[in-house]
Symmetry: C2
């Protein structure tokens, strides 16, 4: 696995019972996964020769993140290395412009969007979406994607994203006018404009797909974001209609199939007040919105990602219990979490703690907790309490 973050750490953990030999390419020996994996190569994933040496002796290589340059992945494939997901799929997680164009082409509902050239072009986009809000379906080729052009009420503010390199709210701006629209262009990377969707909540549809085409769909979850960072996930999404849940799963399965995804695919979605679902982001790897599966599903996203990339039959994605809640643990003011452990473990013996071995920095994701049970309010309160206590924002 390329990338030494917590996703690699938890994927390695999930591979131990399957007897899977796991080799890691990590930026540093201190990275989250490098602390627990016993076969670690330290090196730069942006360097093709490093990737080539790493790939020697691997049956398959897969990824903790989507930042490996696409041309390197193509070079590895040309060498005969098995890359899963492959570059033709990963480009859609790597480049938001390519992703939006492709999803629109295959009929998947997205926010209206187009690549913008400069702040004046952003203003033009805002005007276009404000107009088309009244006249659904009027978007043309290269214009704002027409699939979602029925919700109305776009215009300013506009969401701007650099097409590459963003994550957890980085590389994303919500701008209110042409002046504010200047900043995203400073990076010199193409910028994608998207309408700011008036969503009621965020959902995620997670699926896993094998090279031979088997696919499984996890229950659709609700993802609660704070400042662009996932804070809490509720599985399944409370009160989601069977129709929308089915549509969300079908969208994710369609994307996985049409884009040739192998492994875990997370499709982040907006649910709108008028009962529609729009695709926000894609991730072709285990994802924060699937961490609940470690304790709440028969087979975790990590185990199923490994099974998929190794072309083993996939595991049962069904939930084991009525409700599972995941809450991210962010770093607070205390570098040592030991005292938090004592309190949280004693208070809630059924709490499931997953820490990443990262140095605590304020606001940094350093772990997550899972709780499960039959009473959603109680399950949420337990997860919330543990996450807040470990962070240090509450002390009892």
């Amino acid at each position: 696995m390329v990338g030494g973050g917590q996703l690699a750490r938890m994927t390695h953990e999930a591979g131990i019972p399957l007897g899977i030999k796991f080799k890691l390419l990590s930026d540093t020996p201190q990275d989250s996964a490098a602390q627990t994996v016993n076969d670690v190569v330290v090196g730069d994933y942006r360097d093709l020769e490093t990737l080539r040496r790493f790939a020697e002796g691997c049956d398959v290589i897969t990824f903790d993140h989507e930042h490996v340059p696409t041309e390197h992945l193509r070079a590895l494939e040309a060498d005969g290395v098995v890359v899963r997901p492959g570059p033709d799929a990963l480009i859609h997680a790597h480049d938001k412009g390519v992703m939006r164009a492709r999803l629109t082409a295959i009929g998947v509902p997205c926010p209206r969007h187009r690549i913008v050239e400069d702040p004046a072009d952003v203003a033009a986009f805002a005007a276009e979406t404000a107009e088309t809000a009244e006249t659904a379906g009027s978007g043309g080729s290269g214009g704002a994607g027409q699939e979602a052009a029925e919700g109305g009420k776009a215009g300013w503010p506009v969401v701007l994203k650099t097409v590459r390199g963003g994550y957890d709210g980085k590389g994303v701006w919500v701008v209110r006018d042409e002046t504010e629209a200047a900043e995203p262009f400073h990076a010199g990377v193409p910028v994608l404009a998207e309408e700011k969707v008036a969503f009621t909540r965020e959902l995620a549809a997670n699926v896993v797909r094998s090279p031979h085409g088997q696919a499984v769909a996890y229950p659709v979850v609700e993802s609660i974001q704070v400042s662009g960072v996932c804070n809490e996930v509720i599985a399944p999404a409370p009160g989601l209609s069977e129709a929308l849940s089915g549509e969300a799963q079908r969208i994710a399965l369609t994307i996985a199939k049409e884009l040739g995804v192998v492994g875990h695919l997370a499709v982040e979605l907006f649910e709108t007040a008028d009962g529609r679902i729009l695709v926000n982001e894609l991730a072709m790897r285990p994802h924060n919105s699937g961490h609940w599966t470690q304790d709440g599903a028969v087979t975790s996203q990590f185990a199923n990602h490994l099974r998929a990339v190794l072309d083993l039959p996939l595991g049962d994605p069904r939930p084991r219990v009525r409700w599972t809640v995941m809450a991210n643990v962010l770093g607070g003011d205390y570098p040592d979490m030991y005292y938090g452990y004592l309190h949280c473990m004693a208070r809630d013996p059924a709490l499931k703690i997953h820490m990443y071995g990262k140095d605590v920095k304020p606001g940094r994701k350093v772990g997550h907790v899972n709780t499960y049970g039959d009473d959603l309010d109680e399950v949420r309160a337990r997860a919330r309490h543990a996450a807040d206590y470990l962070r240090g924002t509450i002390t009892e």
Copy 2:
């Protein structure tokens, strides 16, 4: 953790989410746990200086097996090393003679037993137990333990055990007469004679105890042995009365407290036709009879063993589901289990496979599977099928 077997492998795995730094002392770099742990010292646990160097920088040391010499553990403690469980507890798992004397002293029911000197003394033991079978409570100090002397029908055959070094049926003989009784004495180790208990089935009561005295009890399980090797575990033990279940848990908790056990304690038990429970063996570490907890309990035995030895509050030991069945996977004629994976995973997507990374040798424990559900017959059949298929004794 001292010892590189599968118990260390699975304990390490359970420690990853808790962010526990895990260091391993392994006989070879190929041992089961040495394949997955990233901080491995290769060395001989029988060498005190090796143990001393290993213990440097460890907050606590614990064990994958009970073979570390007691005098070495005492020397480590004298050095200031925190050893859990400590030598005063571990001696009872290390030496069956000490264990029997101590359990009898604290009123825990055991098979009648005593240390025997030679084959003639075994014959004397057989005669004593045949007599006392008729006259309950007549055993004296140094004679066959009286606690169990009410079941009747002892005499020949007699069970002989070397007091140290046995496991999985090794170091145990069932002898029918004085001639057969000669072999166990060849090793030069003291020999313990025990009555052959007419048991209806074997149970195990697993508990975990912390240094500060917190303890949790897992549901009592049925353990099905084949040729002295655990083959299958059913959790909870089907049809076990609440009274006997409670008694078994109380016995295990009493042993843990009285012997000062820290960590996981497995108490293997005989259930007799006349409704009694007798202690067979003790293990002060994670144990085969607790493997079901990985998928069937809120907190696994491995996680709770770590929490105990680190004096963290213990996790909830309750079952997550009505029935969980564990079946050991023994090595068969096929060195490569990959094709077995394809079939078993496709046939039963909810199957939980736990392999140890060991070379396949006929009859060697190389892994286990867990299944769970509401219908015991179906859950057992699934576990049995997968274990037999992976071994190669069935092909469809």
